[in-house]
Structure formats: C-alpha cells, structure tokens
Symmetry: C2
Subunit: 419 residues, 2 copies
C-alpha cells in the first residue's frame, strides 16, 4: 500500500498559489463589472468634485457682503438669478446680490459662500432675503477636489469590484473597465455510490451533493463552471473525459477517488496524464486527502468525496487559486478571532477546521460548532457561516479560548493568513 | 416652503417593513437556487446517513470476534468479500470473517465494527489480516441518522440558500426547491446635472454614478432590475414614465429630486399618482431626504441624489424591503460592535452612518472611517466594508468608544436591529 506523507497546511497553500497561473486581462462594460477583479489601478482622472459646488439648496453670495449681519441688524440680498443643478449662471455677482442655487450646482462667479434655505428669511415676492449672521469665506461650499484630487491613485489593481467601487468608476467616467478574464472551472464527480439528486435512495447509495455544492461555491466568487458528469468505471473512459475537460477549462475539480483505497483510481489517471502531483496528503482534518496536480499550467484539484471535506478543501485551496487567477489581492477567506463557546478536549496531531456559527453581536466574537462534526457530515454545512481553525498538536481547547476563525460568504478577503 | 418633520430611523424602518408585500412562491431547480430565499422549511425526509456505513477504508468485522486481541496474541480474520462504495455485500459474516469495505460503503449484515486499513496487518495474498486490539461494538461505524434523524426540521423557511444549504438539499433529494419569486426593481435617475458615464465632463455637471451603483447593490442580493433612464424636465413625461415603470416592476427606486428645492418635483408626482407618502424626512445623516411612498401595494423609494446618501438609503431601507418581499428571515445588514479608531467630537442631533473600514484581525473589532465623509462623497464608498452607526444626541464620540457597526457585503444578515 502507498504511504503518503502529510504536508503542513501552509506548505500546501504555498504550493497551490505558486502553481496558479494568472489569466489574461479583458475590458468589459462597467455595467457588467460587479464582482469582477480590477486589473488596473484607478487614478482620479479629474478632481472629485470637478468644480466648487453647493452642498445644500440655498443662495450663493459673496461672503464679504454678509459682514456685520446680526439678529438686530439683518443684511439684505437681492436674488438676481436661479440656477438648478447642472446649470451654470452667466451672472457675475455684484455687491449685495445673490443667486438661488440648488444642491450640487456649480458656484457662480464671485460667489464664495452659500446661505442655506433655512438660514434665509425670504421676502414674499421671493426676490430678496435677509440673513442674521455673517458668512465666512467658503462656508457651505463643497470644494473642487475635496473628495479626491486629480491624479491620486484611488484603487489598486486586484480589488473586488463592489457597488461602492462602481460608484467611483462611474464618477470618473470609466464606461469600460479592465478586469481579469474569469477562469472556467470543470467539475467531475467520482464514486459509484452516487445517485442523481432526483433519484430515489437505494440501499448503499447516497445522492451527489458535492457537485451542486461546488457549483454554488464557485458561483459565490462569480466564476462560471462546466459540469462533466460522473466518472465511469473504466480507466480509459475516465482518462478520456478528464483529458477533454482539461482542454475545455482553466481548472478542473474532481470529487472523490483520491483516497488510497483499491477503488480510487485518480492517482493512476494523474500518472497516465503526465500530471505532476504537488501534494496528496495534508496535515488537516477534514480534507487530508485533498490532492493537487498540475498539467500544462492547469490545476487539477482532487477534493475529498466527503461533503465537509470537499467544502473545506475548496474554500482553503481552490477558492484562493481561482481568485488569484483573476489577480485578486485578497484571495483568502476573511480572518478573525473569536472565543470558543465549547470544549474540544481531544487533541489532534492534524490541524482541524470546524464548521461553525459566529456571533458578532457583543463586541467580542464568539464561535460555536454548527452541529455534527465529521468529515462526512452535511447538516453542519447548512448552518455554518465560519470555519474554526484549531492548530494541530498535543493539547485540546477549552471554552473561552481565543481561536482563529475564517468567515464564509463575505465579499472582503485577506491578503494572507498566518494560520 | 414645505416643512418636513423628521421621523426616527427605527420608525422609518418599521413603516417600510409594514408596507412591504410578500411575493408569490415558485418552484425552481436546485441548480438555480443559489442565493435565493427558502420558502419552505426543510425536513429530513430520511435519515442522514440513510444506512450504517464505514467512515474509513478498511475491513468490516463482527466486534465479538476481536475479543482478546493484543500485540502478543493477534487475532486473524479471513477476507471473504470486497465491497466498494455504493455496493452492498450479499454475504452475512460468519465467525472470524471480514469484508473489505470502502469509505462510505454500507455495513454488511452482522458486521458492527470497522478495522481501519492502517490497523490491520495484511497477509501477502491479501486474503487474511491480523489485528492487535479488540474492537468495540460500533467502533469506526457511521450510524444511520447520526447526522440528522428522519423527520427533524433542519432549516426554517426564510433562510438564504448558500452552498452548504445546497449540499443538504441535494442530500435529501430536493431536485426542486420552493423559493419566493424575486422582485423586479425599476431604477429611474433624476437630475439635470447628470451625464452618462461615457460623456466628457461639462462645467456644472457630473456623471450618473447612482444608477450603476444601485444596480450592483441590487445584484448583490441576487435581484433583477430594469433601468428606465432619466426623468425628463416635463412633469407629464415624468408622470408617464413612473406610471409605466410601476406597471412593469414590483418596486421602484428613484434617485434625486426628493429635496424641498424648487426643482425637485417628485413630491408633485407622488401626489398626481395618488401614492401615499409614508415618510419624507428621517432623523439620519446622510440620507435624511429618503422618501418612501406606496401605491397599490408597491413601494416607491425616493433616494437622495448624493452618492453616499443614496447608498446608505438603499442599504438601510430598500435592501431589507426587497429581502422581506422574498420572505427572508434575516433581511437586515449584519450587525456587530467595534472600537472607534478616531474621534467624532462634533455632536449631531441626527443619527449618523459613516462609511467605514473594519478590522477583525485581533479578536476585538476596530472601525475607522473609510475616508472623506460628506453625503456627496464617493471615494469613501469604494473603500467601505461597513457603516458605523452613531446615535444622534448632544455628545460626540471618542477614539476607543464601542459603537454599532453594520457590515456590507456579507451573505448572513440579522433578524432585527436595535439601533
């Protein structure tokens, strides 16, 4: 029997990322860019805002004309023009003159302060108003470039494009934006025990839950996939299917078939393909059999057939690799720390990842296991929004211990981990 | 001039949710269900796992036959059958007999323990092995129903369908799943200052960043939208466009045109439509002009034209309403608390929401403003992954104060807020 030497988690991640190719850059419409990865730094092409403007509805005045105004000695202004947002007044303000101005409108020439509507007492005809306090230069004025000065680097390449990013890109006139092409991921399930979802249960068999689960994990990072069904029993058929899938995709995921049991034939297929196996045993639970091979610069992830192990293997290795292919600068799951709300007294030489539920409500985060905790468990996956990471070693962990936690299903990630 | 009385945030949220309709339920393929909302509770239709099975590769034995085994006095078993995962042995084990069994395979009749491969010393021919310790009843056996017993309610209606949910649904044979129909959201921008994204800047004008931003905010919760362009200057044209949009969508968002300035005509349109205005002033910044009207059971959100105010108004009011339409049980942004890393010494009578960046790395979360903080700011939106919520009142806030924080871009939400 084959003996496999487990490598530490961080070595497996390092090997994965070192062998992950970067995909080409393409230019797409801003309207299609949500959840893509920026492939260029974003520089302010002009000032934001591009001109001095009124942040409130009111009256643009020359501040010097307001000098000496008080409750007892109100100062009167004559309204000589009205401008809406988007319009520019052709008037140049003279002494004691004011221009009615809307939120967002450009400041008229000579005007250097805005009297808010509620600060003005309007005449009945609306052509005059009085104020009861002096206004300082630039009072109630949004200055050109105060949000961002022209030329400033506002976003670095590699960031996820989220709604706030899109607001900024639109403001700067990026109708098109450079992003990395998205990898196409192939999925192949193995295992003669697998039924289709719609099939009734048969003694000894279970339904294929890994494939739809992986499809959703892939969709969660905005990446398309192709399903190649299940591997057949004949080695040649398997070889041909994997060969075809590799030619049509950027990255291939298989589930199951990676143990050292008699019926697990992926290792033989890797050999026949000439793929280089980077690792096939990791000092972690679940998912110790997670395998990574590489052929012609393409990654072949061999994930466990056990649902929880498959899920964890994807999140720890495949997800960061796919994000790195797109140039993401934060490819790893978001990390935090939290207090354990349960004992894990049994020590384990391997690092453990426990599907968990995190509570953030009280300032200090707490995590609890999300239920039944075996590598073949599935219900806990449905209740997990985090993974607890317990380092391997000779000691257990107790309620109240502060432990590392990886968050699932958040937009924001981490540049690196120190697990 | 119209005087508007601001209502507290919690009243505005309550009014919004009270007037939000629930949409019909539809049945869709599990493969299309990622990010939808469950419209039925999920009950274990059968035990998970559905039969006793081997969690490891090894040999199924009768535990009684292992009694007395030790290093000195190894006990020998005869391998009488091989079964792969998905197969069922036709053999009934006799005394001293064992069946080679793969991970996930059903336990053979009479077998009640599994000797892991590494616990067995195999004969050269592979037809016999010895063990050096006794095995207990059910040792290394995954029991039928240990993950979930048949009949147990596993998920309640209203939960977001994420990859872990899909794994569970597939396991239980839900090829189709009942979800709420998704609302179709219409977007109309107002403001004569607005240029298209691809247009060059003109004095006094800015580009329409709110519409693509809102499209992404809507896409972030998996909801489709229709764009109706910009409102024209003629009241009748506006009225007709809004009337048409309302007939084609479940919910309408307008941006801009909701202040009390002379050029803001949405209030007149609401009146002409016969829509009931639920609120048009909220004691919050930014977004105090956020307006909600309702007509024939459909919500018309009038969001501010200022980017940060528009963004915040969507996240606080429109997002939970859209999620509630789909029956979500956690429609509100995820809440946590964190230490302020900056002073906010100036008091504000209104509740403030500050675009922020949250750091989770050290066990206790810290938040810092994500940059320039005005309602018309846009760069801070691109750097924010959270909103700091500072209650209104007569005092400021200091570095180190623990404050409420709402997380942006997370799958998981809250059932309610206590802001």
């Amino acid at each position: 029997m084959e003996f496999r030497k487990p490598i530490p988690l961080h070595s497996a991640i390092k090997l994965t990322m070192e062998h992950t190719p970067l995909l080409e850059v393409e230019e797409i419409s801003l309207h299609d860019s949500y959840h893509r990865i920026l492939a260029e730094p974003i520089i302010a092409k002009h000032n934001i805002p591009p001109f001095d403007r009124a942040p409130y509805d009111g009256f643009a005045i020359r501040s010097e004309d307001s000098a000496g105004a008080s409750e007892q000695q109100r100062v009167t202004f004559q309204v000589v023009d009205h401008i809406g947002a988007g319009s520019v007044s052709s008037r140049t303000l003279g002494k004691g003159e004011a221009i009615r101005i809307m939120t967002g409108a450009a400041m008229p020439k000579q005007a250097d302060a805005v009297v808010m509507l509620e600060q003005a007492k309007l005449s009945e005809a609306g052509d005059r108003f009085t104020i009861r306090k002096p206004f300082q230069q630039l009072e109630n004025v949004s200055l050109k470039g105060e949000d961002a000065a022209a030329g400033k680097v506002l976003l670095e390449a590699g960031g996820l494009i989220h709604p706030g990013t899109i607001a900024l890109l639109a403001t700067l006139g990026y109708a098109k934006v450079k992003v990395a092409r998205r990898p196409v991921v192939g999925i192949i399930a193995t295992g003669s025990e697998l039924l289709e979802i719609e099939e009734p249960l048969v003694d000894g068999k279970i339904r294929n839950s890994n494939e739809p689960m992986l499809q959703a994990q892939i969709a969660r990072i905005g990446v398309p996939y192709r399903s190649y069904g299940k591997l057949k029993d004949q080695l040649d058929d398997c070889y041909n299917l994997i060969k075809q899938a590799l030619s049509e995709t950027d990255c291939l995921i298989t589930t199951g078939g990676v143990s050292v049991g008699d019926y697990d034939y992926l290792p033989a297929i890797y050999e026949k393909l000439g793929a280089k196996v980077l690792f096939n045993k990791i000092a972690m639970r679940p998912g110790s059999v997670t395998t990574l091979a590489v052929l012609d610069g393409k990654l072949l992830f061999g994930l466990s057939g056990n649902p929880s192990a498959c899920y964890t293997g994807f999140e720890l290795f495949t997800r960061p690799a796919l994000l790195k292919m797109m140039g993401a600068n934060k490819p790893y799951l978001r990390h935090t720390q939290a207090k354990l709300s349960e004992n894990f007294t049994k020590a384990n030489p391997f690092m453990r990842f426990i599907r968990a539920s995190i509570t953030l409500a009280e300032g200090r985060a707490r995590v609890a296991p999300a239920g039944f905790n075996k590598s073949n468990a599935v219900t806990s996956l449905a209740h997990a929004d985090a993974l607890i990471a317990l380092p391997g070693g000779s000691r257990g962990f107790s309620e109240g211990d502060v432990v590392d936690v990886l968050l699932l299903g958040t937009e924001e990630g981490e540049r690196e981990w120190n697990l």
